[in-house]
């Protein structure tokens, strides 16, 4: 546990507090106030991300601290897009996800600025990591909707949100191209930096496993449609589990030492 007595730390802790406040207010039935608080939290999170960018003088996506900082900042825009254009609910969960992903940035990972090693000095660095971050938040939202479906929770009739099973499908449909783009950009970059477009590195193999789980989901859903909604949801939850392993376990565990170890 590392408490950060810095401007960066204050910004992170403020965001967590505002996100949690937004969550509590929304749960208490004040959805509109909750949304405004969520937006306020996003502004603080965005400031925190920009502050880090200016501090380290490169796109702050180099290590897990910066990655979680980014995840905390993109929760709101994704939530807004889902609400505004896709009519997918669960905004209170997005507020909670925002607070949860900022927790490791605030209390677990060190924030010491680091210079980019030669391999990371590529124009592919930012898009490769950024599309993965976006994909992960979409897939996290999909997993939440899958959980709602498993718990048999449906949106109230007066609401216009689409049902959880369908929402899961829609969200995976948006996240999957991003996941693919991340995989292929990483492969292309690997060829330029390390000589191989596929190095059989643990991180690469876990990302392939995550991608394949969603491939399996689409084929399964093509075969059975909405006839077996619980199994559809289990596919989505399995996908999220492999993403969490890819993002965290592979970098933190010594079992999976490999070319991506610098991301720790």
């Amino acid at each position: 546990m590392e408490i950060k007595y810095t401007i960066q730390g204050i910004l992170i802790y403020s965001t967590i507090v505002v996100y949690l406040l937004a969550f509590v207010v929304t749960i208490a039935g004040r959805a509109r106030a909750g949304r405004w608080l969520f937006f306020g939290g996003f502004l603080v999170a965005a400031t925190s991300f920009v502050y880090r960018w200016l501090d380290v003088r490169h796109v702050p996506l180099q290590n897990l601290f910066e990655v979680f900082l980014c995840l905390g900042a993109i929760c709101y825009p994704i939530s807004w897009i889902c609400r505004r254009f896709l009519r997918i609910g669960g905004q209170w969960a997005d507020m909670l996800i925002g607070a949860i992903v900022l927790f490791p940035a605030g209390f677990v990972f060190h924030a010491r600025p680091m210079q980019l090693p030669p391999a990371l000095q590529s124009w592919l660095f930012a898009p490769h990591v950024a599309v993965y971050m976006l994909a992960y938040i979409f897939m996290a939202k999909a997993a939440f909707q899958a959980g709602e479906q498993l718990l048999n929770r449906r949106p109230r009739i007066e609401q216009t949100w689409i049902p959880p099973e369908q929402a899961t499908y829609e969200l995976i449909g948006i996240g999957f191209p991003l996941l693919t783009l991340g995989l292929l950009l990483g492969s292309w970059w690997g060829k330029l930096a390390w000589g191989h477009y596929w190095g059989w590195d643990p991180k690469e193999l876990w990302s392939l496993a995550s991608w394949l789980v969603y491939i399996g989901y689409f084929h399964w859903r093509y075969m059975y449609g909405k006839k077996l909604p619980r199994l559809n949801s289990l596919w989505a939850l399995t996908g999220m589990a492999t993403i969490i392993i890819t993002l965290l376990w592979v970098n933190l565990s010594r079992i999976f030492a490999g070319l991506h170890s610098y991301a720790t």
Binding site: R87, Q115, L116, P117, P118, A119, Q121, S122, T160, W161, I162, P163, Q166, Y169, E170, G173, I174, F176, P177, T180, L181, L184, S187, W188, W189, K191, L192, A193, W194, G195, H196, Y197, W198, G199, W200, D201, P202, L205, W206, L208, A209, L212, V213, I215, G216, F218, H219, W220, R221, Y222, M223, V250, I255, F256, A257, G258, L259
Partner: protein, 348 residues
């Protein structure tokens, strides 16, 4: 859907789940063993079976040919697998047997500065292959981030960092005093003048060092030299340990390709910027220095199958983007605001 089609779909699903588990297994055994495993004979059977399944799917499911994006995705996957097989060691052996194309799949070559070389130590073996041209190393150099950093550590484990610039001072507090950087040397040398050691910077070489003073209350001014390459020993009674770190920003090898005595290509290769010539990519891999001088080690990788893999990538991502985003966006624009909660759109 008839039983045969359903059986093919089940086979595809099993193939996907199997590859997922194999990938997880590969992640546990490490990159080297995973590479061997995924290039083994049983896995070759799996790859061929996967291609057969994908082709069967395209012919059996009319939807895959009717919806161009779905076709692109599946053809993309086929191309990626074929390209990867063609570029593998077994693929290179096949190229040699069938087409008479004798290429080195992968290897390393060491070259001293101002020398040229065409021999390649083939990976995973003791063989030495020869390229049909020579690679000359004009110069190798390392570039650093400026300024470096002076790291000060107390015996209690506290750590401070400061930019390695002359004039920088750092107050450590708690009786540890103040550390100040007096001089920064690119190539530190020391000489004895009038029985006194005198440090100076000699142009040309490289031995980065810092001259640091430590001022403590009630103690004489301490002076210390901190070297980047030779950290030196630490006095057990010394309350502070110091190290000078310069982080490498790039490794650069200036290369020339020489064929028939003429320079046919030149490039300064660095990380992320390999040289591509004659069917091979040349990557900066290692460097070193011995009694013969400075040398660089290049990784040499054949480009066989690479374009096929990249073509597969383009088809795959093109198909996925169009199917999941493009088509949906177009539908939304056309039918806006027809999509309702009761009739959400489908990708399939």
């Amino acid at each position: 859907m008839n039983r045969f089609k359903r059986a093919v779909l089940w086979a595809a699903l099993i193939a996907v789940v199997l590859l997922t588990w194999l990938s997880i297994y590969g992640a546990f055994v490490g990159a080297e063993r995973a590479r061997g495993f995924f290039n083994s004979l049983p896995l070759a059977v799996y790859w061929f079976a996967s291609i057969a399944l994908l082709v069967a799917g395209i012919f059996l499911f009319r939807r895959l040919t009717r919806v161009p994006a779905l076709l692109l995705m599946h053809v993309g996957c086929i191309l990626v697998v074929i390209g990867a097989m063609w570029g593998s060691k077994a693929g290179h052996a096949m190229q040699k047997n069938l087409l008479g194309v004798d290429k080195i799949p992968e290897g390393q070559m060491g070259i001293y500065e101002q020398m040229e070389e065409n021999r390649v130590q083939v990976a995973d073996g003791n063989n030495v292959g020869e390229l049909p041209f020579f690679v000359r190393l004009k110069d190798f150099r390392m570039e650093y981030y400026e300024p470096g950093q002076l790291i000060v550590q107390s015996r209690a484990g506290q750590t401070w960092r400061m930019p390695a610039e002359a004039g920088q001072t750092l107050s450590l507090g708690d009786g540890l005093g103040t550390v100040a950087i007096q001089r920064v040397f690119e190539n530190f040398k020391i000489d004895i003048q009038q029985d006194e050691p005198v440090a100076y910077d000699e142009p040309g070489g490289s031995n980065p060092a810092l001259e640091v003073t430590i001022e403590r209350p009630g103690a004489p001014l301490g002076r210390r030299y901190v070297f980047e390459r030779r950290p030196g020993h630490r006095n057990p009674n010394d309350p502070l340990a110091m190290s000078y770190i310069k982080m490498v920003s790039d490794y650069v090898s200036e290369l020339e390709i020489v064929a028939d005595g003429k320079v046919v290509a030149t490039k300064d290769i660095e990380v992320n910027h390999p040289l591509h010539y004659g069917g091979y990519h040349f990557y900066q891999h290692r460097y070193g220095e011995d009694r013969f001088g400075e040398y660089t080690v290049l990784m040499v990788v054949s480009d066989s199958g690479l374009n096929v893999v990249y073509a597969g990538y383009i088809l795959l991502i093109g198909g996925i983007l169009w199917h999941f985003w493009g088509r949906r966006a177009l539908d939304r624009l056309r039918t806006r605001p027809a999509i309702t909660a009761d009739a959400p759109g489908e990708y399939q």
